[in-house]
């Protein structure tokens, strides 16, 4: 049974029936899914959700499918960790990590959106899936295409390092290296999406795909005991995630699944690519595109499609935004690993680093619940920390050599902020 009413323009509010459409035909504003909440309210309760398997589809009424899902049955319901060690270091009372670095199948939050995109693409009758990606999205589309038995095309800039292609190529999609810069890949994919009958997950079925992000927020609320935390720090690339966290929590509140919703939302970006942070800090409704230069490649989107909407939800929630330098990102990755045993990619370093800054600035109070979003796995971006770690001890194969070297090991490294 479908609970989707159709598509609605986020700019002018015009409504469209369900279909393969991603911008408003009148104002070219982006479209999002409108649901029949009255109908959902009748069937969805905490008990119904709790009785279902622990994956992202336990919230299926709030996802944009007309039929039962076909993909992503092992995706979602990732750990929600009370991070007491890190809390102690940061001097805060109640800190949590929502850990999508162990999401299935490809260790990033993108598995959620791609699972929705695949199920929807099949409803629309597509048999070829495509995306333009240099990282997590490409990995997820490739793996889930392998599971689903669909043909996948992955478009990447030709100069992308081989190491980054392996995590997609292993699933045997068609990888297309485009001899052009980043802008040219964007332009080409947009043209291909309008000509070929392929499901480009982040272009022509974007409104559906993006809804998958809400499950990240649903899980935070459920795992937090059917409550909304006071503060959530989210990474931002295109800006979609924070808007979907807001939408997800709002839906839970409106449906009576959580009793209160007074969450302040914060956005984190790398300093070399922070158009949304700049807009929030300067209070500009217009996002100025930038040329990205940051080690947080998974967030390096210079012209964020949902930038304005991210600005809007953060401002309305009473939140703020911070950018992290490359050095701060690396330090934060190490800090999270050493305190909580979580090895995150650069985007997680960005959110942890931003959280540290926001706490220091007293924008986030120390005695309220804080959730830091960790959306990807550090094994994918090892190169950024490789030279920043303690070197292994090198010894001769005898006890005295070990004991000699062992004396040089400091007892503990202490972090303070």
């Amino acid at each position: 049974m479908s609970y989707v009413k159709g598509l609605r323009c986020r700019e002018c509010g015009r409504e469209y029936p369900n279909g393969i459409l991603f911008v408003c035909e009148y104002c070219f504003g982006s479209l999002e899914i409108a649901y029949d909440y009255a109908k959902i309210r009748k069937v969805l309760s905490r008990e119904t959700i709790e009785a279902r398997p622990k994956n992202m589809w336990r919230y299926k009424e709030l996802l944009p499918l007309d039929r039962d899902p076909t993909d992503g049955f092992n995706t979602g319901f990732t750990p929600f960790i009370r991070a007491d060690n890190l809390a102690k270091i940061l001097g805060v009372k109640e800190l949590y990590i929502k850990d999508d670095s162990v999401n299935h199948p490809t260790l990033s939050f993108k598995d959620r959106v791609v699972a929705v995109a695949f199920s929807k693409a099949k409803e629309f009758g597509f048999n070829t899936i495509a995306c333009a990606s240099t990282g997590n999205l490409a990995n997820s589309v490739s793996a889930q295409a392998a599971i689903a038995g669909l043909r996948a095309f992955i478009f990447i800039p030709a100069d992308l390092e081989q190491g980054k292609v392996v995590a997609s190529s292993i699933y045997n999609p068609v990888v297309v290296k485009v001899e052009g810069n980043y802008d040219e890949v964007n332009r080409l994919c947009s043209e291909i999406a309008s000509k070929y009958k392929w499901a480009f997950v982040n272009i022509n079925i974007r409104p559906y795909y993006a809804e998958g992000s809400k499950t990240y927020a649903f899980e935070i609320a459920e795992q937090f005991g059917w409550r909304a935390p006071k503060h959530i720090i989210s990474p931002a690339a295109g800006g979609s995630l924070v808007t979907k966290i807001k939408k997800g929590l709002q839906e839970f509140y409106d449906l009576g699944l959580i009793d209160e919703f007074d969450t302040r939302l914060y956005v984190a970006q790398g300093q070399g690519c922070s158009p949304i942070v700049t807009a929030i800090q300067e209070d500009s409704e217009i996002i100025k595109p930038v040329k990205p230069k940051t080690i947080a490649k998974s967030l390096a989107i210079g012209n964020p499609a949902d930038g304005y909407y991210a600005y809007d939800v953060v401002k309305k929630s009473g939140g703020w935004a911070e950018a992290a330098s490359d050095k701060e990102i690396v330090e934060a990755i190490k800090l999270l690993a050493e305190s909580e045993g979580i090895f995150t990619e650069t985007a997680g370093g960005v959110t942890v680093a931003a959280a540290i800054k926001l706490i220091k600035q007293k924008r986030i109070p120390k005695d309220e619940s804080i959730v830091i979003c960790v959306t990807g796995n550090g094994l994918k971006t090892q190169e950024v920390v490789m030279d920043k770690l303690h070197k292994p001890l090198k010894i001769k194969p005898n006890l005295s050599s070990f004991e000699e070297e062992q004396k040089k090991v400091p007892t503990a490294d202490h972090y303070s902020i």
Partner: protein, 79 residues
């Protein structure tokens, strides 16, 4: 004839000049404004451009050369 949908961002000096008008006149391109936002610091306009393919290319190049940031309407796609 071809059509292109673009988002133009004007900053600094570019905001004061009638660049869209000049582009339309010089390259025989018909701009159709669909959405716009302007502050005293920055301006953003979503346009549908109608004209000969080569003129559209030339017109966009002219805008870029004049300091306007020209982006496809869907934003960056490579994620």
């Amino acid at each position: 004839m071809a059509k292109k949908v673009v988002k133009l961002t004007f900053t600094g000096e570019a905001i004061k000049k009638p660049l869209t008008f000049r582009m339309a006149k010089k390259f025989d391109v018909m701009p159709n404004i669909r959405r716009a936002k302007v502050t005293d610091q920055i301006g953003e306009i979503v346009l549908e451009l109608d004209g000969k393919e080569e003129n559209l290319e030339k017109g966009i190049k002219f805008l870029v050369k004049s300091g306007v940031i020209v982006e496809p309407i869907v934003g960056d796609i490579v994620e």
